[in-house]
């Protein structure tokens, strides 16, 4: 996706400032004030020196007017105090605005992530998304909190010093200001050079994030294969690449900086020669010379900082491109503007009408027709990769079919609101994903206000109550990410309890009991038959014992239904199902 020019990135940033703009302008105003003060405060200490130390009337003043000294000293202290307060207020204003915007953008990006469809998640690596929401956002924060402030400081200091100098003496001032275009050219060249480096650096950071994240998530596999050394070598590569990119970026700055520094250092030299000659020729008084020399820093420092400011700006620019990309990404699966409002329970009548579905141009479901009546229990079986999981993922609309339609209670699900649709579906996925939270919190995932009694009831239905209650902290036990610490069967049962607890009108169990022992599975089936709410059940399983009591069994092969009927019908048919039964029963059908 194209993320546009730098102007559009700044435009994006300005848009984010909405609601904070006035405060920000206030911050900029304060910056101007304290910088002007920074130029004028030295005047007061100069006054003391002139009046009481080096001036012609110094001795006289001290003797006759010591109060003036105290007044002047007090003025100096007070002005500094005021200035530092203004600096503090300005800094805090920038922090406030930048944090507000960080907060706003971060939350919005998260909302974006929450509403992306599954194909988005298939495209982006976890580590990369994490980089966008952390490192990249921090670059945006830094832009608002620091880069802009420094820029304002540079402009104000340079601008006011330049004006002041021009008023003092045009000739000398012009000679000093000649350095400015040189600096502009240098920093401009630097900016062009460093720009692609920040983009590369940002990529390396993302890759390192990904390498770390996958190593942590895959720690069991790493240990199992004793691949620690390989992982370390792999990480070393990411670490080295990042380090290299970082050095390259910094060293680019350090290559330019001595030149910039040298140009800035030319200012006192120019002043000495040009100003000196002017003094010799009587065109400049020594007072004017001192005025020039005490404020040369106000020209030199902005020149020095400008490059650094631009450097940070490029970092922002590279990072913001990634953020804007995320911000602009629109899911393909969205609610229609005129989506039907259906807040209540669904009947649970599901129709697949000539449904085809391809993923990455690979056809997975081909022209499939299926009708599941409310309250029925159906089973889907088939070879690995035959499309079972893809098929059921079309029901909660994780993906849209490429052709045909899925209808629930007679309505095309594309006309429904996703949230209302999904609230009606209880899904227990194959790949059990639990959260690092209490067991209670995991089961109540679908409704955080779920009463505890309901959590317990469905834990029992899922045959999970016994083992949960045996845990030292029972339902309050914190389970690790992905439910680690629990056995496979235990995880599956919690996942099942989670799906049941929302009392869905459609329950989809995708191989949910594969790791559960037979006896427990029997109990689970028993409770599934006796649910207190009406529910259409779709079960994917490999074990005949899990599917034989279904009202209808569908056999899927290459994305098409090849057999369909009850257990007895299919056994009588002597097809794939019959073979399955035979295999699992040790030859007895």
């Amino acid at each position: 996706m194209k993320t546009g020019s730098e102007t559009s990135r700044i435009g994006w940033l300005l848009k984010q400032m909405e609601g904070n703009r006035l405060l920000y302008v206030w911050g900029i105003f304060l910056t101007v004030v304290y910088n002007v003060m920074q130029l004028t405060v030295p005047y007061f200490s100069q006054l003391i020196v002139d009046d009481f130390l080096t001036g012609e009337n110094a001795a006289h003043n001290l003797e006759n007017n010591p109060t003036l000294l105290i007044v002047e000293v007090a003025a100096m202290v007070l002005l500094t105090f005021t200035r530092t307060i203004i600096v503090y207020c300005a800094c805090m204003t920038y922090e406030k605005v930048s944090q507000n915007i960080l907060y706003k953008v971060r939350n919005r990006l998260f909302d974006k992530l929450e509403h992306q469809d599954m194909s988005f998640y298939d495209r982006f690596r976890t580590g990369d998304l994490m980089t966008r929401l952390t490192g990249d956002l921090d670059a945006v924060r830094h832009m608002i909190a620091w880069v802009v402030r420094m820029l304002v400081e540079c402009v104000v200091l340079f601008g006011s010093a330049a004006v002041y100098f021009l008023i003092l003496d045009v000739q000398v001032a012009a000679c000093l200001l000649i350095t400015a275009p040189v600096i502009m050219i240098l920093t401009g060249a630097f900016r062009n050079r460093v720009k692609p480096m920040h983009e590369a650096l940002r990529e390396r950071l993302s890759l390192m994030n990904t390498a770390t994240q996958e190593n942590i998530s895959g720690n069991r596999v790493v240990r199992a294969f004793a691949r620690e050394d390989y992982e370390i070598a792999k990480f070393k590569e990411a670490n080295t690449e990042y380090s290299k990119a970082n050095k390259k970026t910094v060293l680019t700055w350090l290559t330019f900086f001595p030149f910039i520094e040298m140009v800035a250092n030319m200012l006192p030299v120019i002043l000495l020669i040009v100003g000196g000659i002017a003094m010799i020729d009587g065109r400049l008084t020594s007072g004017q010379y001192v005025a020039f020399s005490t404020l040369t820093w106000a020209l030199a420092n902005p020149m020095r900082s400008l490059g650094n400011v631009l450097n940070e700006f490029q970092r922002f620019s590279a990072a913001s491109a990634k953020i804007i990309e995320l911000d602009m990404a629109e899911p393909v699966v969205v609610d229609k503007a005129d989506a039907i409002d259906h807040p209540g329970r669904f009947e649970g009548d599901i129709v697949f009408d000539h449904v085809s579905f391809s993923y990455d141009k690979l056809p997975i479901i081909r022209d499939l027709n299926m009708h599941i009546k409310p309250g029925q229990t159906i089973a889907i079986m088939g070879e690995t990769g035959s499309g079972k999981t893809s098929l059921i993922q079309l029901i909660p609309r994780f993906y849209d079919p490429s052709e045909g339609s899925v209808r629930i209670d007679g309505v095309d699900i594309r006309d429904l609101k996703q949230e209302q649709l999904r609230k009606n579906i209880g899904l227990a996925t194959q790949d059990v994903l639990l959260y690092s939270d209490s067991i209670d919190g995991n089961i109540a995932y679908g409704d955080i206000d779920m009463p505890e009694s309901r959590v317990r009831r469905y834990a029992k239905h899922a045959a999970a109550r016994e083992f949960i209650e045996e845990l030292p902290e029972g339902y309050g036990t914190i389970i690790g990410e992905r439910g680690v610490g629990l056995s496979g069967g235990q995880k599956q049962r919690i996942s099942l309890a989670r799906a049941l607890a929302i009392e869905p009108s459609i329950l989809i169990l995708d191989d949910t009991t594969s790791a559960v022992d037979m006896e427990t599975e029997k109990n689970i089936q028993e409770s599934l038959r006796n649910l207190s709410f009406p529910c259409t059940k779709i079960i994917i399983a490999q074990r005949i014992s899990s599917t034989k009591d279904a009202d209808q069994i569908f056999i899927l092969r290459n994305g098409q239904i090849t057999e369909q009927g009850t257990h007895d019908e299919l056994v009588a048919k002597k097809g794939y199902y019959y073979e399955l039964v035979k295999l699992q029963n040790g030859g007895v059908a």
Partner: protein
């Protein structure tokens, strides 16, 4: 130890001290030469820089009043020369120090990551993964400047200060004391700020860590969120965590931003005191005008390094919070490690023996209670029994993923706690319930089991597990890119790929923990034929609930209540009419 969640701050046990910096010196020492070199360069640059005001002074006092234009130009040229030297030296110093800084964080990151590789499952099980990640990536980045330029600058500024103090005392003792009186005042202020600041930045690191933990789980769990239409709830939680980050940051900068203005004020206060004390208290005559002028200029020079130190100090306080976290992770004890006198386990023949093994994950909750069994080389052993009975635990102990409470696990008669982990695990092929796929190509994922595997070997392994067909049918075949969460593959397909990954490693002992649960029965059957040929002569352990999978094993052990309750061949156990019999008959459909 209690597990940590996104909603929980990680408590830091250790109190703050500068020993963390001392500890960091291990990383810095390596670059001592460069650091000293940089110090010298800086000293030369600073020394040369001192010449500049002298030249200017001479020009103003002598050259200009004498109207000597030629000399003026000459002095200008000298000034350029001085600046050239000083800029060049500082530039070289900056280059050196930036490379050192990058190298230091490279080293820290390498060690941190290396240490993570040694930590047990438990460590990863006990906290959100995003919280570990943020330490390796973000926190390490934060400390780079502190450990390179920061330290050099502290040294330089301190030297600078010492010199100025000496000069000051040489000029006037009593006025010097006035200047130095500002120091304790500043100390008091800084002491107050520091306490708040440190806690505030720790909070920032905690809150960021929480946010990262939550974010990562949410990206990984996107499918579950969608399935339960939990988006709005999650957004609320995230907004809350995000808000906490904002508050914590704002609170922290409230203190950090105080440092600089405080120094500024104290320094101006000192100057004011100088004027008042010098002029009014001591009075003209006692001290000359020149002394006061000199003292004010020294005072300014004295406070400049302090101002710089203040900035460095700020940086230190902010980043020490991160350094603490990094070292905390590095200090995490390695529970399962090579014994000091560990030997290499020779090629495994395949005899496995458990001798009175007791094991528990948590104290007081034994999972295995005095388990003993032995397996002959080449035997295939099935473990069956109710979920949570300890089947996975037994196979995990063979690979020494955990330490025993008591008893021994022997392979070929050798206690596995006395051999190196690498020599042990590299000979085992373990396939776990959770088949993790790395992002990369399918071929890469299979190759993970044997890094130098040829394409042909990869294809062969895939063929044995019946994965070749579906892989070849994909648009890019074995080179198809898969992602960690990638839904391009079904769970069964992922299992087949990780199966191929296990097989290609040519393990001496094969452990299949529910490895085929998501694979259909027919594929599994086909797979077994290939597998049997491969496994000839190798010991294998299989955990499966589908009993058709394990019927033909040499030995079937029924695990329940922390031990082995039945053991024998299928026929023997069937004849026994015990728990296995019940299980088996329940599975066969009448």
């Amino acid at each position: 130890m209690a597990r940590n969640t996104y909603g929980q701050d990680e408590k830091l046990e250790k109190p703050f001290d500068f020993r963390h910096l001392l500890r960091a010196s291990v990383y810095i020492k390596k670059y001592a030469k460069q650091m000293i070199c940089a110090l010298l360069l800086s000293a030369v640059a600073a020394g040369t820089g001192l010449l500049a005001p002298m030249v200017t002074q001479h020009a103003l006092d002598v050259t200009i009043p004498e109207k000597n234009k030629q000399e003026l130009v000459l002095l200008g040229a000298m000034l350029i020369g001085i600046y050239l030297v000083s800029v060049t030296f500082s530039a070289v110093r900056s280059r050196i120090m930036n490379i050192v800084g990058q190298n230091i964080i490279f080293d820290i990151r390498r060690d941190l990551f290396g240490h993570l590789q040694k930590l047990s499952f438990q460590y990863f099980d006990d906290r959100p993964h995003g919280k570990i990640q943020i330490r390796v990536v973000n926190y390490v980045n934060s400390v780079s400047d502190m450990l390179s330029n920061g330290i050099i600058n502290v040294i330089l500024e301190c030297i600078n200060m010492v010199f100025i103090v000496i000069f000051m005392f040489m000029v006037d003792v009593s006025l010097s004391l006035v200047v130095l009186a500002g120091v304790p005042v500043l100390m008091l202020i800084m002491g107050y700020i520091k306490n708040h600041q440190r806690r505030a930045w720790q909070k920032v690191s905690n809150k960021n860590s929480n946010l990262n933990g939550y974010l990562q789980e949410n990206i990984t769990g996107a499918r579950v969120t969608r399935a339960f239409a939990r988006e709005d709830e999650n957004e609320k939680i995230f907004a809350d965590l995000s808000g906490q980050c904002r508050e914590a940051w704002y609170e922290a900068v409230k203190y950090s931003n105080l440092v600089w203005p405080s120094i500024d004020n104290v320094s101006v206060g000192v100057r004011a005191a100088l004027y008042l004390v010098g002029l009014l208290v001591i009075g003209r005559g006692e001290v000359t005008v020149g002394v006061i002028v000199a003292m004010t200029s020294y005072a300014a020079r004295f406070w400049q390094p302090i101002l710089n130190l203040g900035n460095i100090f700020n940086n230190f306080i902010n980043n020490i919070a991160y350094l603490e976290r990094i070292f905390e992770t590095m200090d995490e004890p390695v529970t399962v490690d090579d014994a000091p006198d560990a030997t290499l386990l020779p090629e495994i023949k395949g005899e496995v023996e458990f001798k009175n093994v007791c094991f528990s994950y948590e104290e007081g909750k034994p999972v295995l209670d005095n388990v003993s069994f032995s397996v002959k080389p080449g035997e295939s052993v099935a473990l069956v029994g109710p979920t949570g009975a300890g089947k996975s635990t037994i196979v995990n102990l063979i690979s020494r993923f955990y330490n025993l409470n008591s008893g021994q696990v022997l392979i070929d008669g050798q206690d596995i706690s006395k051999v190196t982990l690498h020599s042990l695990r590299s000979q085992m092929g373990i396939m776990m319930q959770d088949s993790f796929i790395f992002s990369g190509t399918i071929a890469d994922n299979i190759r993970y089991g044997k890094l130098d595997a040829t394409d042909e070997e990869i294809k062969n392994a895939a063929r044995v597990v019946c994965a070749d067909d579906f892989i070849s049918a994909m648009p890019d075949g074995y080179e198809s890119e898969v992602k960690e969460r990638g839904s391009l593959l079904s769970q069964g397909q992922k299992q087949l790929i990780s199966f191929a990954r296990t097989l290609i490693s040519d393990p001496r002992i094969l452990i299949l923990d529910e490895a085929t649960s998501s694979i259909d029965v027919q594929t599994e059957r086909a797979l077994q034929t290939g597998l049997n040929a491969m496994l000839e002569g190798r010991t294998s352990f299989i955990i499966a609930h589908r009993l058709s999978t394990i019927k033909n094993c040499d030995k079937i052990m029924y695990i329940s209540d922390g031990g082995i309750t039945e053991c024998g061949t299928h026929d023997e156990l069937m004849a026994k009419h015990g728990a296995y019999y019940k299980l088996y008959t329940a599975q066969t459909v009448a």
